[in-house]
Symmetry: D2
Subunit: 176 residues, 4 copies
């Protein structure tokens, strides 16, 4: 039985929308947690500090050792929630590509995971970034390809070609 669904994609690729649609179409209740939850849980100082997370004016995201330490504990915690019986959708941005996946893979261990790549062409994601109005401009383009580098998926969806709900239905068919 699938215990964890990991949605990986760049900023403004539409992961959160797919997560909410998945919660609506899957028969059991699933928790949806992700990078945004973690960033919000961190102290404001981590956002600004050299060792924390930085959003450069042109949309690049730089994370330092302080961020990585809290993130490692966060990942352990999500894994523990799944081990304790919760079914969890993880909405993630693998800034480190294959390395990021490796961190999650190690923590999730033997849990049955469905790895999903959420693709969206950079130019289209950039337009959606402007449309939503609450993100640093440039993140979408700078993350669109790099987050998928070397990552292995069970399936991939493309939000430039299908609505969030349609992507969710496709993913749901792979959930056991």
């Amino acid at each position: 039985m699938t215990q964890v669904i990991v949605l990986n994609g760049g900023s403004s690729s539409g992961k959160s929308g797919i997560a909410r649609c998945l919660q609506a179409v899957l028969p059991d209740p699933w928790l949806a947690l992700g990078t945004d939850t973690l960033v919000e849980a961190m102290p404001a100082s981590v956002h600004a500090s050299e060792g924390g997370i930085e959003f450069t004016p042109d949309g690049e995201v730089i994370v330092g050792p302080e961020f990585r330490t809290l993130e490692a504990a966060w990942i352990e915690g999500i894994a523990a929630m799944a081990h304790a019986g919760a079914r969890v959708i993880v909405d993630e941005v693998f800034l480190g590509g294959a390395d990021s996946q490796q961190r999650w893979r190690k923590a999730l261990g033997e849990l049955p995971v469905l790895w999903v790549g959420v693709r969206c062409e950079g130019a289209i994601a950039a337009g959606r970034e402007v449309a939503r109005g609450d993100r640093t401009i440039g993140m979408a383009v700078s993350q669109a390809d790099v987050v998928h580098r070397g990552v292995a998926y069970d399936l991939e969806v493309d939000t430039a070609r299908a609505e969030a709900m349609e992507c969710a239905r496709t993913i749901a068919e792979h959930v056991r």
Copy 2:
């Protein structure tokens, strides 16, 4: 060394504000997570379903077995984050009073926890509930006393008598 700070208080008692002030005044980075994070992570269906969580028109909150199951896994996850080294501020509403504390106590085990009661007279919390404008009216009054019933604290603060920042400084003095 204190690993977890549990802030327990009714809706609109000012817990989240104290949590953010604590993150600002404590020298190490602390994660702030709580009931609001969990509720937001749950599917919309759980909010509406009989087994989930219900906000009655007069502000009462009723949680069912489906909510409790996900919550139990959530608590295990928070405990695992602390075990993995993260220092965590838990912003909680003990709807079940002493029973709720017992659930957390069991999951947190040997971790050094600072239990903090966040008091605010119901009438004052009710005014703040109107002022913030994003909560069901009545929650503040219905939770003000019940969440503290039978709960044991290391210290208590009263947001009707002290600013959030002042409460945070008081709490910080008890953090080792």
Copy 3:
């Protein structure tokens, strides 16, 4: 010179996203105001009262005389902003179809207005409503067609077939 752009469409049809893209692509600064701004400016009591605005559990929106009175003054105010020199994008839901347009037409008088219909098939808008997660389910479907009934447009865009940014560029070509 176009002074006002009125975007009319059902809930979750993508009007606000187009408005933000328009603000980004148009060379002059435009204000974006709309139904959401007005509803947020109203007292909580109007949301609940019989004479105010009501969101039924199945997503229908019913507005009463109290809402209509404040709305009439709001429309006069938007017209005055345009008369005072501001270029304004109005993001609207014509629940009354042609009657709603007539109310705006009367208030805007001789001002040069670009009337834009924002179409989105109900089924697709319904999926987006689930994906965004912050709207009463059912509004998208119940408004998708009714808001366009009898309304005359200078141009129409369809967010089921084009991205918000693309729609904005099409509209911008019609702005003088």
Copy 4:
């Protein structure tokens, strides 16, 4: 009959909370609009441009000619809403002190206005700024005194000494 209530105070002094409490305690429906509404209605480019509005890292707010032009039209629009019959609470930050009041006074003309100063000692407002977590740190302190310079009030309230609801009741007694 009072048609407009202007609440003027620095960032994090508690104006919006008082506005919502006023909407709850006043018998008639009042619209609440203010600086935040205007800033949100402006294009993202105005936030960043030299002629627009700038939030410096230490919390100072600098507004340029482009902002002032849109703001002038906005003020005319609010005045028109009041002339058209809406009762309006204006939640404002008089960065220019007496000059800002003069701009509003000119636009509001003969309308019966209640001018309210919302005081909050800088140090306390600074703590609340940290507690709310969504504002640039430093705004509260830099605005606490300057916004009241040379401004004439019908009454003043102090949110460091009274709850938002209590302030609202005091103000409501002056509304005719």
